[in-house]
Every structure is written in structure tokens, then in C-alpha cells.
Symmetry: D2
Subunit: 294 residues, 4 copies
Amino acid sequence: MEMVVGFVGLGAMGGEMVRRLLAAGRKVVGYNRTRSKARPLLDAGMGWGDSPRAVAEAAGAVFTMVADTAALHAVTEGPDGILAGLGPGKIYIDTSTVSPAASRALAARVAERGARMLDAPVSGSTVTVREGRLSFMVGGEKAACDAVTPILLEIGARVTYVGGHGQGALMKIATNLNLAAQMLAFSEGMLLAEKGGIPRELAAEVLLNSAIASPMLRYRGPFVLRDPEEVLFTVNMMQKDMLLALEMGRQLDVPLPTTAVANEFLTAARAIGLEDKDFAAMYEALARLSGRPR
Amino acid sequence: MEMVVGFVGLGAMGGEMVRRLLAAGRKVVGYNRTRSKARPLLDAGMGWGDSPRAVAEAAGAVFTMVADTAALHAVTEGPDGILAGLGPGKIYIDTSTVSPAASRALAARVAERGARMLDAPVSGSTVTVREGRLSFMVGGEKAACDAVTPILLEIGARVTYVGGHGQGALMKIATNLNLAAQMLAFSEGMLLAEKGGIPRELAAEVLLNSAIASPMLRYRGPFVLRDPEEVLFTVNMMQKDMLLALEMGRQLDVPLPTTAVANEFLTAARAIGLEDKDFAAMYEALARLSGRPR
Amino acid sequence: MEMVVGFVGLGAMGGEMVRRLLAAGRKVVGYNRTRSKARPLLDAGMGWGDSPRAVAEAAGAVFTMVADTAALHAVTEGPDGILAGLGPGKIYIDTSTVSPAASRALAARVAERGARMLDAPVSGSTVTVREGRLSFMVGGEKAACDAVTPILLEIGARVTYVGGHGQGALMKIATNLNLAAQMLAFSEGMLLAEKGGIPRELAAEVLLNSAIASPMLRYRGPFVLRDPEEVLFTVNMMQKDMLLALEMGRQLDVPLPTTAVANEFLTAARAIGLEDKDFAAMYEALARLSGRPR
Amino acid sequence: MEMVVGFVGLGAMGGEMVRRLLAAGRKVVGYNRTRSKARPLLDAGMGWGDSPRAVAEAAGAVFTMVADTAALHAVTEGPDGILAGLGPGKIYIDTSTVSPAASRALAARVAERGARMLDAPVSGSTVTVREGRLSFMVGGEKAACDAVTPILLEIGARVTYVGGHGQGALMKIATNLNLAAQMLAFSEGMLLAEKGGIPRELAAEVLLNSAIASPMLRYRGPFVLRDPEEVLFTVNMMQKDMLLALEMGRQLDVPLPTTAVANEFLTAARAIGLEDKDFAAMYEALARLSGRPR
């Protein structure tokens, strides 16, 4: 329990993950671009690092949880970046969703500093984290994965080592393409029931208690009835992951028919102005195509 | 607990449902085209009716669970059919998956006999039944639904009344279209992971413990690794439901993009000779398109 | 030139076909449900038969050109139907688009009368007929096809014998599935150009003078700019053919991905109230999904 | 007729275009990475420039026709690049297919040199060029377009000015997305006919003489019967254009359903090893999904 953990990126997901670490008695030093957002975590005992580099210097295991490759670049590169603070013995764990290629490139930079990197994206929402059911899919060196597994298990419930650098990222992308396809199919079922005269609330209740009710649908399905209080995974964010999947499909020669079709409905959701809504807004795009004006 | 239950169609699903009723102490009279298949149920205390009509005459509530509209016709019509055995006070519950129109037509015939019909399809596999978690979506007269709800709850865990005649059938179709779409998306994720170098078993493990893991996928996902011992829901059966969904989509003016695409991969599974395999065989169709010969 | 031709179904297409026959000096006896529509043809020299049967009795070669299987049934069956007027030596040519199975069933009924049937659907619009460029794809007995080829060439420019009964129908269905797919792809190109700032008229001009400009697109593409004066092939009619194609795809185990997707956009066109517009209305459905209210 | 034309990129298309210019009596100075390929053109009277820069220096109007953005960069940048040879009064016309953004960026660089750029992609194959039927869709300054229109009309038959910088590129992308969708739909029709028993040659003959027979299909359709002598537009090249289209669709918020689906079948063609075949190989991918091993 003695290794200090650094954490860069204290948004909704990152924040919940740190909270789990603190609850487990882990010493955590954190950094966020907007310090004010970290206030509750600081109150809960988290230490503050003045830069990503400072966090990396203070910790044996450094985590990042950011939105995309550009954000990852912003916190890792430069004189104040994580890379500058890494050195032999340290392990850097990126839990963001980026391309395997971007992850492998970063792993090479980390190795140049004498440290080791793991790509360890997660499956689940903030609710999943809070309930301690988060899963990690980890790519990189097996020994490095073993070394930080106790820490990962303070955050979540399951750690699966899937292979070398970038394989965690690949596995995450392979998982996430299912999200949009499931959401679109769910929308098809909902609209079929509704236009056939079954009240929307009732249709959702039946579907979300049936064999198709994945954890994602149980969480997100109700958003077609009413907007969520907080939007954590927007149409734009979902499409980012779909584009990664489609790109990997082309690289690996795997046709992805439902992914391709679902992606076009994310575009449609954007086209009708819903790009910053939860990606359950795919339902609205299909509803519009079914003749119901929004 | 005193109402006698009749049950016509003692296949895998029907058989398990009767088993639940018997376990609850319910008196059941059953009929199956092939009597030998009913042996274990008869040993467990089920009574035998010599025809669907005899079953209907002996029972206050009569159930059917058969494969399709043709099979339904076979057990309801004619001198030995259920209709001939129905009369005032009796309730006939069809748990098969047929079109709302076929169900409504049958309900009218039942009403002519002075009895009442409910369309009450179920969501779940034999495993779901055995675990007592089966859900019913019920269409018909609300009072008739209330009257048999105690019996339905001996079989399963949840009864949702969704509206008039045929609405249970519609709700089932709206649910089932998700099955094939989820299976195809899952196959896309699996093949992406595999062709990217992640062992198939490992990829399945991660996906089936992630946010996309619906009960259906947790049950059926492993079939891409090894064939199931018993095939309960074939490519052909799944396509039957998809065609019902696509037909409803046209009638109700709801475009069904993932349903339409997934249906074509069921056709592809048939084209490569897998029509009688569990519909997880969609994975094989996509694998073939990904360059892997079967 | 001496064989009398009977023609049942004098709508837009049928009327133009008869006009070609008359212009070639052929003696034609016609029938149409609504006689008033036949006025101009009668003025042009066509004889009138009081029923489909009367037409069949008066002619050596009888043609039908009707909307669907139901309409075909209406003019062939019954005491006043074509079948009743057929006999040895006569050849019956159906140029409608129906399923191969329906066509084969009718051919068997024709054979019972001692006559021979050909399924000979056509590719092209009324414009194509008028310009003498119509193509026939003919199924049935080769000798029967040869016997009527001179007549077919009075109407159009090309006769292709494709095989036994129903094969003409199959070939037509295989052709027509392309129409909706081409129209949807054209709409995608149009909207991409337009939303990128290229005036709609200009975009259409470029596309319709490029390598993608099939005769169908050159005819129908301009309808996205302004409604046609006369609607000859509606969304509903196009969808009828797509459903025949999808059904054949399932029977013959051929996955039809673009057909399936395009068909859903025909449903969408229906959903926004355009079912009786020319099927170029698929463009409007996609436009709506692109954020432009109709 | 006095303006000297420079031409960089003397592959199949570029070569034919130069041949047209020479035939019109135009003075042309050309450059190609592999000089040997230019031999026949030099024999036909074309002058040689030792570098793209030399070509630009020698000409009033400079053309490029290369494979992609990377190739374009290679011939425009650097001390020997076209940009270095441009200056006031000169017009640079790129006829390649690249993204509007890439084209606009290059136009800005050209403007820095005091010259003007047009993006002027073409629609058609080498056959189209040879027959003098090539179309240009031109973006950039209207006056510049007018200035070179006489030259463009020596090469082809039609010049359409579609707007500012990048609009020619956009229009080309909007055109080309139709190619793959049409090819896939054609393959669906072919396989339906064939599996239904119509000989492949015959099915192609009917389809290619019907209302769906675009110039592209008339050229490429026969490739499903036998490989072309020379492959000019491969699966990989077609997919490059599809990716540009899908990217533009996302930028402009236009869902592209048939484009997305057809693109996955290009991936499938790659997966079965056909990436360097003419993109008519989409047919083989669908044939495989229809149960026919290649």
C-alpha cells in the first residue's frame, strides 16, 4: 500500500477513480488543468501537484484519464509534462481511449525515460466506478501490469492483461464499437413499440428488463425518456471512438457493418444539433427519420 | 392455486415452463405432437391430454409455446384444436413469437368461442426459465392478464401488460431485433480484437465482462468459441423474428437500419451452410468476410 | 405482321407500349379497367375488348402490364379473366414485375389451358419506350420467346431470353434493386455537395454528366430539384420491388447489403409522408437526417 | 493556342490527357518520376522538364495528376517542386483527387507565390479521355477557370465551375462515393441472378443494357466476368476516395449510409487479398458472403 499514485485528469471518470483510491487508503497526488474542479478531492485528502511533471515526480505509478490524443499530448509532452517527470522504476498507466498506434508511440517515449507504460482503458461509467465494478484491459509489459494490479484493484474489480503495448487500447475500441450499435438497435426497438402504440415508458421498461439489457443500456436507455442530469459521454465522444474502430477495421481488414451504420447515425445526431448530448441522442436521429419532428 | 393449466408445445422452452409450474404445485395437463418428448414431464407429475382440444377442455388457462404461425395454426384449428376446446371463462395464453396481425386474428377466433386470449411472449432462454427470471410481455384484455398473472409468476419473475391484442407480440418483436444486431456488433468487436492479435478466448472474456454484456451475450457469446451442447435458437429462427420486425417496421414506418443489416448477415450465415446452428454463427459469416476461411 | 396483339393494362407504360405497336402497323385489341384512359389509344386505332377474356380470345399474343400480383390476379382469373380466353397456340406475355414464384404459378395455369406463358418484364421508363429503347428480359419456353420476338421488337430494342419460367421476373428484380441503391447514393453525393456550399442545380448537373449517370439517374435525378409532372414510379412501388428482391435474396441465400439499407430509406420516405411521390423522395429522407427540415 | 502547358504525373490518366493536348497541337512540357514511362509521349512531341519546378518554370499553365496527397506534396514542395517554379501570371491546375482541405492549403501556398491554383478533378477513365468525353469540375477563382477553359476543352468535353478553392475536390468526392455503392448494388443484382440460375454472362448483359447502366458500370461491370487487362482503379484507390467522402460527411454532417456500407465491402475485398485488383472485386467479397468460395 506504500506506493504513491499520481493522477492527471480529474474529470468525471478520473475524479471517481481517485475517490476509490483515497477510500482504499492510497496516497494520491493529483493534477487537473482546472484546479477548482479538484477541490472536493483535495478536501478528501488528495495531494496536489503543480504540473503533470510534478505529479510524475512525486509518484511511483502515474495515471492519466483524458479525452483524446490531443489532450494526452498536452499532459505528457513539454517541460511540464509527465514524460519529463518519469524515470527508472516508475510505471505510467494511461486509462484514456486513444488509438493503439498513438499508445505505442507514447510507450516508446516512456521507455526512453527508463520508465514503463501500460495502456489500460476502462469499461464502464462513473456509476460503474462508484460501485467498484470497473474493468481494466491492459496492454504493455506483463510484469508492469502485475506490479500495478493491486492499485488497479483498489479502483475496480477486474484487470485483464491482453498483450503488448496498444493491445489494451485495441480491446477498448473493440468493446466500444458495440455501444453505438446497441444504442441504435435499442432505438429501433423503442420506436417500433412506440409507433405501434405501446407507451414509451412501458416499452423502455420491458426492453431494459429483457435479455438485451446490457449494463450500458440499463444506464443509458432511460435517457431516451429524459435527459441525464450530467452528460458524460457525448455524441461527439462516441463518434471519436467509432472512428478509431473504423480505422482499426481498415488496418486489420475487418469489415464492421453495424459500426459503420451506427456511426452514420451519430453523424445524423450531430446534424440535428445534438452533438453535445449523451449519445442516446441517436434515438432522436432515428425518430426524425421515422417522421417524428423533434 | 386451484386453476388447472393446460400446456401445448413441450419443446425446450415449453418443457422448462411446465417444470416451473409443477414445481410450484400447479396442476398441469400437457400435449405435445411427439409424446415421447413429454416423458420426463409426465414422470414429474404432468397430466396428459390426447389432443390440444382435450388440453383446452381440461384447463382453465391454456398455454401454447410453438415455433411459428404455421405451428400455431396446427394446434389451434380443426376438430382437435385448442379453439374447439375453449369456452366461456377460459383464458388462452400464447407465448410463441408470431406477428401481431396473426395474434389479433386468433384472438378474434378465441372471442367467438366466448373465451379470452392473451399474447404473452417471453424474453429469455431455457436458462432464464430455469433460474426463474423469465419476463412476459402481455397483450389483450387487462382483466384477463390480471387473472393469469399469478400463474405467469409461477413460471417467471416479471409480467408487463403492454396493451391490447397483439401488443405483446409487437413488444417481443421490438425486443428480439436487438438480439441479432447485438450479436453482429459483438462479432465485429471479437474479430477486431482477434485480427489485432488478442487471443479469442481473452477477447471474449473482456467483452463479456464489460458494459456491453447483455444477458443474451453472456449466454450466447461463448458459442463463438465452442458450439453449444444444444441449439435452441437457430439462424433460421432468428431470421424469422427479424423478418417479423422488418415487416412491422414497414407497416409502422420505422426505418430499422441495424436490423436490416444484421438480417443480411443471417442470410450470409445460411449461405455458408449454418442455418441450423445457433445464430451466434453470424460471427462465422463475418469471419469469412474478414478473410478467414471456415 | 399478321398476328393480332391483345393488351391488358393501359396505364402509362402499357399505353406507350401499345402506341409503339400501333405505330408499327400492328393490329391491337386492348382492355383497361377504366375505359376512359384508353380514349387516346382507341383514337389512334386500337380495338377494344370488353374484358381481359375478350382480349385473349381476339388475339394470338396477349400482353399484361399491371402494378402487382393482386392486379395480375384480377385480370387473369375468373370468368372474364385472360385465362378463360386462352387456348392452344396462344402466347401470353406478362410484362409486369411480380415474384418468380407468382409468375411460375401463373405459367402452370396458362399451360393447363393449352397456351404458353412468358414472363417478360421491361427495364426503362415511359421515356425509354417512346424512344424505342425498351429492353425485355424473357423467361419461359425458348420457342415461345422466339415466336413473339418480332412483336417485342416493335415495342422495344432488345430482347434477352434468360431462361425458364420466372427467370425474366428474377432478372427484373435483380435489375431493379439497383435503382433504389443508386438513388440513395446519388442523394448522398448531392447532399455532400450542397452542404459543402455547391448550389444544388450545379451539383446535379455535374453528377448527371459524370461516370455515375445511369439512364435512370439522368431521368430521375432532376426530380430532386423539382417534382416531376407525372409520377410513374412511387416510393411505394419501388419498395414493392425491393421487398421482392429481399425475399429472393433470402430464398437464394444472397446477402443484399445496399438493397437492405436503401429499402429502409424508402420506409423513411414513407414515414415523412412521401409514399406517393416519385421514389427520388429518398433524397428528402436523407436530407431530413442531414438536419434540413422539409 | 500559344500558352505552353506543363504536366506533372504521366501515369495512365495523365498520359492520356497529355496525348489529347498534343493532338490538339498544344505545346506540352512534361515530367514523371519514372522517365521511361514518358517515352511514348516524348516520341509524340512532348517536351521534357527535368523536375516539377522546371516544368512550372517553362509553362503558363501547369497540371498535376497524381495518386494522393502524399504524391501531391512530393511534386509541389521542396527546391525542385512546382511551387518553386510558380510565379505571377501562372495558373496551376491539380486534377488529382485529394481532400478539399488539402487543396485549399495548397492554393494558399500557390497564392504566396503570386500564382493562382485551381482544383480540377476529372470524372472518367482513360477510355473517357481517349473518347474526348472527360469532365472537369473546377474550384478556385472564376477568372482563372475561364483562362484555362480552352486548354481543358482540348483535353475533355465539359468544364463546370463549381465554386471557390476546394469545391472541385468536394464535387469529385461527392461523385466518386457513387462508384463503390453502384458497384456493390450491381454485384447484389448479379449474384441474385446467378444463384437463381441465370448464366453470369447473360445476367451481366441484361444489367449493362438496362436503366442502371451508368458509364462506370458499362466500363467496369464486365470485370466481374474477366479481369481487366490493365488495372487503373484498385480497391485501395477506391477506398481512399471513400474515406475522403466519409470524412467530408462527418465534417458537413451528412450521413452517408450506402457509402459507409460499400466501404466495408472494400475492406472485405482487401481482407481476401484483392486490394490491388480493380474495385470490381467488391463482387468477389459479396460472392464469398453468398457461400461461393473464391
